[in-house]
Each structure stands twice: as structure tokens, then as C-alpha cells.
């Protein structure tokens, strides 16, 4: 029978995942639309053409509806680190808390202060100040994303820190290593570029609806011209940063790469599966993974290591080890991790017994400035998180979920790139209005953009399971100790609330779109 604590862990994971999924329904549109609005207002500022003022205000209204609920779900995420993940909060709070605080001080205040001017200042402040406020709102939103993604990246790739035995936690040793880690930099640009693409597809899709209805022709075509060009550029950048993500993941999270490729046996010149259908788990063996698949030889090695002949480790290599490739078995890592955790138990026993000599002996092992400590931290503490695992198989995340999520994300991304290019060209030639099938495709691409965006996060977060912090802390010991039933209750409370608010948001958005720019709300 699963203990109440492990049930609490599962409920806490479900609650956090649910909150994150809802949060991410709203954030990408905020990030991208804020920039598009700022560009539209810049056109108004330069041309003094009331058409652009009206267009800006229309998209701004949709932005506002979306913004509020994103803020609300974001608040919950921040505090859930405390309410649901208290062990985690202590273990890495010294590092993880800093980006959250910086986000508040440097970015969030910027965004929320100037958003008030952006919404309410049209007739109260000068045009220049208003334009600056709109840009500052966009800068604040995206700066906010930077810091939160720095925090997330650190969980995927914990750098710039050391373990302090006295405080029993990881402590920051280099702010710049944390803030500018390759995972953080890449994650930020990939996330923001994909968000800009999503927002562009939203603008294109809504504008396409007007063209289908033969309404707001000028606004729709102007919005499509701007958003399709903007979106195409950022779709290309999303692909470039996505490619770079593969390189980074191959080095810092090889299991995530193996799982998303359903690669069980590592190989040199590994092929990339473009599409495939996995066998059910009970039928799947390391040599027979797919019912069918379509692969391109050597492409995975090339994309991961920039070398067509490079060895890409598979799931079996990472679980069972591969001495020839210098890969340690997970069981060995678990044994070493248990030694590291055991030293904490020894330290506690020595402290309770008042045995200063035994305490000093443990302290030397955790002292990075001493040779003994350097060796222990490298050979044992590096596998600390493994010490809490019960079996080597626990390090394997959900393979089918990752495999399909990756293909949905990449497939949709390629489609977006082509669609935006095609739409831009058709709009420029003036043929878009006649291509009604294409306008319908644009509308139905909006939900696809959200699906692809969510798939990206599923890949990132499910792919690092079982770790709350890669190889340092599994989710199984990170949670707070509250009754599982109560976390279950709060899960359903938030689920009902967020779902109700999502329904409200979609209803209001659809109505505002239907009303259009001439007569919005009480205008």
C-alpha cells in the first residue's frame, strides 16, 4: 500500500502540473501579444493614423482579458513551492528564491505599473509616455519570463551552487552561472520565441475570422501583415533555439533525450524518428519498440552532438550502465547516493550523541576546499538524489508521453513556419481573402498552437522526472507533509476554479472578437 506521504507527493505533483498547465494557457499570449500591441502603437505614434490607434486598442482589450487570469495562476504557482514543496523550498531556497524575488522587483512591478497607464492612460498622458508604457509592459512581461525560466532551468541543470552541511541545503556560489547557464539562456529564447509565434498565430487566426465574415477588412489585413511576418521570424528562431535545446539536453539530461526518442539501446550514428507508433509497454522490448516508424539515419547523432557518428546513449545504457562508454549504472549511482544520505544520518547521530570527533569527520567530507571533501562531493554527493530512489527503473520518465509530445511540438512548429510564410505571401499579393480554406486553417491553427506550446512544457517537465532538481532531489522527498486528502481537495478546488475562469475567459474573448473594434464594451 502506498504511504500517505507518497500519495501527498502524487497529489502535489498533480496540483502543480494542473496549475502550470492553466498558467501556460495564458502566459504565451501575454508575452507575444504585448510586443505586437507595442509595435502597433508605435505605428500609431509614427503615422498619427487613428486606424492604428483603434487597432491597437482592440488587441489591447483581448490582451487585458487574457492577462488577469495569467497573473492569478502565476501567484498560485509561486506559493505552491511553499505550501506543497516545503522540503524542496528549504533544500534549494537559497538559490531558487533569488530569481523569484528578482522577478518581482525588476520585472513584475514594471509590468503591472505601466499596464495601468497602458489601459487607463489614453486620455490622461501624452502619446509618447503612453507608447513608452506599452513597451515597458512588454519588456516587463518578457523580463519576468526570463527570471522564472532561470529558476526552472536551474532545476533542470543545477549549477553555481554547493552543499552546506551546517544548513543542510544547497547554496549559491555564482549568481552568473545560475542566471546565464546554457539551459537558462536557451530555455528563455526558445520559450519566448515560441510564445511570440503563438501570439502571432492568435492574431492571424482572429483576423482570418474577420476576413471570412467579410468584416474589418483593413484591420484584419494589416494585423495579418504584421503578425505573419513577426510570427514567421520567431517561428524560425524557435526552430533554431529548439535545435540548440537538443544539443544542451543531450549533455545535461541524456535520459530525457533517450525517452523522447524512445531510444532504448544507445548507438553510434543514431537515427531520428520522424514519426512512429510505439508498441504498448507490455509488448515493447529494447529491440522492438515501434509498431512502425519512419526515421532518418544518423540525424539524431548529428542534431545532438553535431557529429553524424556520435554515440547517443539509450534508456538501457543509462539504467544498466555501459562501461565501454563510461556510463555508470543507475544502481551504482543509487549506492553512492545512499552513502551521501547516510553521511547525513551519521552526522545527526553524532550530533545527538555529542560526538564532536565523528561530526568533524563528516564535516571534512562535505568541505569542498579539502581534498577529501572534493573527492566525496564529486564521487558521492553528486549522486545524492539517487540515494532516495528505490529502483533503477525509477529514473525512466514516461516514454510514450515524451515521444508523442515531442512530435506534436516539432510537427506543429514546422507547420506554423510554413503557414505563416504562406499567409504573409498571400496577404501581400492580395489573394488571401479569396483563399477561404486558408483562412479556416488559420482559425483552427489557434488551438493547435496552444497544444504545441503545452506539449513543449510536458516534454520539459515530464522529461526530468523523477527529479524535482536534476539528480539532487527526487520529487518523492520534496513535498510538504500535509494529508493527501487535503491536497486532493485543494486540487479539485483549484481545478474547478481555473476551469470556470477559463470558460469565462473564452466566452468573453469570443464575444469581444464578435463585437469587433468599432464597438467594444461601452465604447
Amino acid at each position: 500500500m502506498v504511504s500517505d506521504y507518497l500519495q501527498t507527493v502524487d497529489w502535489s505533483r498533480a496540483q502543480f502540473a494542473m496549475t502550470a498547465v492553466y498558467h501556460w494557457f495564458f502566459v504565451p499570449l501575454t508575452l507575444g501579444l504585448s510586443v505586437l500591441i507595442a509595435m502597433m502603437e508605435t505605428l500609431y505614434y509614427r503615422t498619427r493614423d487613428d486606424f492604428w490607434r483603434r487597432t491597437t486598442r482592440f488587441w489591447m482589450r483581448l490582451f487585458g482579458i487574457n492577462f488577469a487570469i495569467g497573473v492569478a495562476t502565476g501567484l498560485i504557482l509561486e506559493f505552491e513551492f511553499g505550501t506543497n514543496w516545503s522540503n524542496y523550498s528549504h533544500f534549494v531556497g537559497d538559490i531558487f528564491g533569488a530569481p523569484l524575488a528578482i522577478e518581482g522587483i525588476m520585472a513584475f512591478f514594471l509590468e503591472t505599473t505601466f499596464i495601468a497607464v497602458m489601459f487607463f492612460g489614453w486620455n490622461k498622458v501624452g502619446r509618447g509616455f503612453h507608447l513608452a508604457s506599452t513597451w515597458l509592459t512588454a519588456v516587463g512581461a518578457n523580463l519576468s519570463a526570463w527570471w522564472i525560466l532561470v529558476a526552472n532551468a536551474w532545476m533542470q541543470y543545477p549549477v553555481g551552487c554547493t552543499f552546506n552541511l551546517q544548513t543542510v541545503r544547497n547554496e549559491m556560489t555564482s549568481f552568473w552561472e545560475v542566471a546565464l547557464s546554457p539551459v537558462a539562456v536557451n530555455k528563455f529564447f526558445h520559450t519566448v520565441c515560441s510564445s511570440f509565434t503563438l501570439a502571432s498565430l492568435f492574431v492571424v487566426g482572429v483576423s482570418a475570422w474577420y476576413l471570412l465574415r467579410r468584416r474589418e477588412d483593413k484591420m484584419a489585413r494589416a494585423s495579418i501583415a504584421l503578425a505573419s511576418a513577426f510570427g514567421f521570424v520567431f517561428a524560425v528562431l524557435t526552430a533554431i533555439t529548439g535545435d540548440r535545446s537538443g544539443v544542451v539536453v543531450a549533455r545535461v539530461q541524456p535520459m530525457k533525450l533517450a525517452a523522447m526518442e524512445a531510444l532504448y539501446r544507445g548507438e553510434e550514428g543514431a537515427s531520428l524518428t520522424l514519426f512512429g507508433v510505439l508498441r504498448p509497454e507490455r509488448e515493447r522490448t529494447s529491440d522492438d519498440v515501434f509498431r512502425f516508424s519512419w526515421s532518418i539515419p544518423k540525424l539524431l547523432s548529428m542534431m545532438s552532438f553535431r557529429d553524424a557518428g556520435a554515440f547517443v546513449p539509450g534508456i538501457d545504457d543509462l539504467v544498466d550502465g555501459n562501461p565501454g562508454r563510461g556510463i555508470m549504472p543507475a544502481a551504482e549511482k543509487m549506492a553512492r547516493g545512499r552513502v551521501a544520505v547516510g553521511e547525513l544520518a551519521r552526522y545527526r547521530a553524532a550530533r545527538e550523541a555529542g560526538d564532536r570527533a565523528a561530526m568533524a569527520a563528516v564535516e571534512r567530507k562535505f568541505d569542498p576546499s579539502a581534498p577529501e571533501g572534493e573527492a566525496f562531493l564529486r564521487d558521492y554527493f553528486a549522486y545524492f538524489g539517487y540515494g532516495y530512489l528505490q529502483s533503477p527503473q525509477q529514473i525512466v520518465p514516461n516514454v510514450p508521453l515524451l515521444f508523442y509530445s515531442f512530435r506534436v511540438m516539432v510537427g506543429a512548429g514546422v507547420f506554423f513556419l510554413l503557414l505563416l510564410a504562406f499567409v504573409w505571401r498571400s496577404n501581400r499579393r492580395g489573394t488571401l481573402v479569396r483563399q477561404r480554406w486558408l483562412l479556416r486553417v488559420c482559425i483552427w491553427t489557434i488551438p493547435l498552437a496552444y497544444l504545441a506550446s503545452q506539449a513543449g512544457w510536458v516534454l520539459a517537465e515530464v522529461g526530468r522526472q523523477p527529479w524535482a532538481i536534476q539528480e539532487l532531489m527526487p520529487v518523492g522527498i520534496a513535498a510538504s507533509k500535509v494529508p493527501s486528502a487535503s491536497v486532493g481537495v485543494t486540487f479539485f478546488l483549484f481545478l474547478v476554479l481555473f476551469s470556470a475562469l477559463l470558460v469565462a475567459e473564452i466566452g468573453i474573448l469570443l464575444r469581444q472578437i464578435k463585437i469587433g473594434p468599432e464597438k467594444i464594451g461601452n465604447e
Binding site: 509561486e78 533544500f91 538559490i95 524575488a101 545527526r348 464594451g521
Partner: protein
């Protein structure tokens, strides 16, 4: 004072300042709670909610930054209080989620749940938000039933797993409401928020009927606040607090600890008394109908709460006393981040004055002219 100790004190000051600003900004909640009391028809309600609504994001952001700064500078408090008193904090979060969307959605066409639902959300947030935050604030003085043992991390999980910070009762924070003094401070904060909400409405709404009603409603609320706050303060000055020996880290009970703190830190006592005087003056001004009362009330609130929070954490005091195990009590010394993190964050905190300046500038730009019914008809973005 060594650098680490200095930075611990500095960060407690920053946290206290953010907490004080948050309490002042709860006037938004106060306005929401009173909307049916100071506005009799739909148009007046829109007027009041559009006045407070233009500041809701600021309150929200201050809450988020307060949480983030607490996490960054005193992570053990974040881990212990949020993880332990999870029910109360979750209830607070629930209240604030309701608020965030309510303003934006309440009068939009296509709102499937109806304006009344979102107005009810604003009322719930307006009443419960400040009350629960006040009760939670009070536990920094009255304590909570928790234990802390960092080496519980040596426990390898599974059945009977122990975490670093454990709550000693199954109530997970609701036990705070069993302490009458927490309830009294909760009431005081809720009534203060409503008092400030009235003063803010008087300041920024240009409508004689609404302003007159706000003035009248402010009176009993202000008296209720004064009664609750003075009772809580007197009790605090007579209470036994936990003192920490800076040399050994040992924690002992000390009668009249908070009174001793004020005597040992006369500047804090002066700020507290000055703040209380400013709030009292704001009440008198508001009583007479002055439109500037909120500025006196706001600065008084910030000063008073700042002094109280400094009193909770400075002068070798346990700012989160443990009722289950005295030695588990949290102090700014035993719960802070490392020297490196505090120093790094201190550099970041230099942005705060800059942030304050642009907030002030934007606030003034938006509130330069009082809100009128005509403005609501002009087609500006409105709630």
C-alpha cells in the same frame, strides 16, 4: 556587526517594508468589501470599483514580491510556514485568485457567470483577504506549532517519512484562528483596509454622494479598527516573546520581550508612535471630510507595520516562535539565506527606490484627475 548579520537585518527590513506596503495597499480590498455600503446603485458601484481596480495589480504584485523576497532571504520560513500552515495560506491564495479576474471580467459581454458572481468574488477577497493576512501576520508574534530539523533530510522517504519542517497539529494553520489575538489582529487589518478604502474613495472619486457616504461609513470602521489594534498592541507589549542568544543560538522565553525591543530600539518606537499618530490624524481628517486623509493613513500604516515587523525580527528576537519546540523557533539568524545570496540580493534591492519612483510617477499620472461618472462614459478601459 559582521556582514552576514548586517545583511540579515537589512533583508528583514526589506521584507518588513514590503509587508508594510502590502498592508497599506489592502485599501483595494477594503474598497471592494465596502462597495455595496458606499455605493447604492450600479453606476456608483462601477465608480468605486474602477477607482480601486486601477490599483489591484499593485497590491497583487506587492504580495508576489513579498513572497518572493521572503523565499529568497529567509527560505526556512517559506518552507516552514507555507508548508506547515498550508490550509491558511491556500485560503489566502484562493481569495486573491478570485480578485485577479473579477475586475477584468465583471462587466464584460460574454461573461458566462454573470457580473454578480464576480462582484461576490471581490467581496470575498475584500473581507477574507485582509482578515487572513492579518491573522497570519499576528502569528509572527504569537507563534505556531511547528518543529524544524534540517537533518530530517537524512530520512530516506517511504512510509512515515519525516520532512524538515513539521506541523505539530493536524490543523495546518487553521489553529491560528483558535488564538483570539490572531483573530483580533485579523479584524484590525480588515477594518483598517476598509477605513483606507473609504479614504481612498474620498480621495480619487469626484462624486459628492459617494464621497459623503464613504466619509460616514469610515467612522465606525475606523473606531472598530482603533479598538482592535490598541487592544492587540497593549497585549503585545505585555506578552512574553522568544529571545535568541546571538552567541549560542539558544532561544529562551523573555517576559515583555516586545516592550523591551521598543525600549532597546527607540527609533522603532518612534516610528511606531509616529505611524499610529498619522493613522489617528487620517481618521480625524477623514471624519471631517478631508480628501487627503488617505495619504496620512497610508504613511501611518506603512510606518506602524514597518515598526512592528522590525520589532518582531530585530534585537535578537525569534520572529516565528514555535509553540511545539522553542528551539525550533525561527530567527533572522537561523533561517536566512547564505551570505552570498543575501549580498547578491542586496545589489538587486538597489532597484527598489527606482521602482518606487516610477510607481509614484505612474500613479500620479493616472490619478491626477479624480474619477468621474463622465470618465466612465468616455470609453476608457474600465472594470
Amino acid at each position: 556587526m559582521d556582514t552576514l548579520t548586517f545583511l540579515q537585518h537589512y533583508w528583514w527590513f526589506v521584507i518588513s517594508l514590503l509587508g508594510a506596503l502590502l498592508v497599506f495597499l489592502l485599501f483595494v480590498q477594503g474598497g471592494q468589501a465596502l462597495v455595496r455600503w458606499i455605493a447604492v446603485d450600479e453606476e456608483e458601484r462601477n465608480l468605486v470599483l474602477n477607482a480601486t481596480g486601477r490599483k489591484w495589480e499593485l497590491t497583487f504584485t506587492t504580495l508576489v514580491t513579498f513572497g518572493g523576497a521572503f523565499f529568497a532571504s529567509f527560505p526556512l520560513f517559506y518552507s516552514t510556514s507555507f508548508g506547515g500552515a498550508a490550509y491558511v495560506w491556500t485560503a489566502i491564495l484562493f481569495c486573491f485568485v478570485l480578485q485577479a479576474v473579477a475586475y477584468e471580467y465583471r462587466r464584460k459581454p460574454g461573461n458566462v457567470w454573470g457580473a454578480r458572481t464576480f462582484d461576490a468574488f471581490l467581496t470575498i477577497n475584500g473581507v477574507l483577504g485582509p482578515f487572513l493576512l492579518g491573522a497570519a501576520l499576528s502569528t509572527l508574534f504569537t507563534g505556531a506549532p511547528f518543529t524544524v530539523d534540517r537533518l530530517n533530510l537524512a530520512d530516506r522517504g517511504g512510509d512515515g517519512h519525516v520532512v524538515i519542517s513539521q506541523w505539530a497539529t493536524p490543523w495546518h494553520g487553521l489553529d491560528a484562528l483558535a488564538n483570539g489575538w490572531n483573530v483580533v489582529l485579523g479584524l484590525a487589518v480588515a477594518l483598517l483596509a476598509m477605513t483606507l478604502g473609504c479614504q481612498y474613495a474620498m480621495n480619487c472619486i469626484d462624486d459628492g454622494a459617494v464621497v459623503d457616504r464613504a466619509r460616514k461609513r469610515m467612522r465606525p470602521l475606523a473606531l472598530g479598527f482603533a479598538l482592535c489594534f490598541v487592544a492587540w498592541l497593549v497585549r503585545l507589549l505585555c506578552a512574553t516573546g522568544y529571545a535568541v542568544d546571538p552567541a549560542t543560538g539558544a532561544i529562551v522565553a523573555e517576559p515583555y520581550k516586545y516592550l523591551h525591543n521598543l525600549l532597546a530600539m527607540p527609533y522603532a518606537a518612534a516610528v511606531l508612535l509616529g505611524g499610529a499618530a498619522l493613522v489617528a490624524r487620517s481618521i480625524l481628517l477623514g471624519w471631517r471630510g478631508s480628501r487627503r486623509a488617505v495619504w496620512w493613513g497610508g504613511s501611518g500604516t506603512v510606518s506602524t507595520v514597518l515598526a512592528l515587523l522590525l520589532c518582531a525580527g530585530w534585537n535578537n528576537t525569534a520572529y516565528y516562535p514555535s509553540l511545539a519546540d522553542m528551539q525550533s523557533s525561527l530567527t533572522i539568524g537561523n533561517s536566512s539565506s547564505s551570505l552570498f545570496t543575501l549580498r547578491t540580493m542586496a545589489w538587486v534591492s538597489l532597484f527598489i527606490p527606482f521602482v518606487a519612483v516610477y510607481i509614484g510617477y505612474a500613479w500620479r499620472a493616472i490619478d491626477r484627475r479624480r474619477l468621474t461618472r463622465a470618465e466612465l462614459d468616455e470609453g476608457e478601459h474600465q472594470y
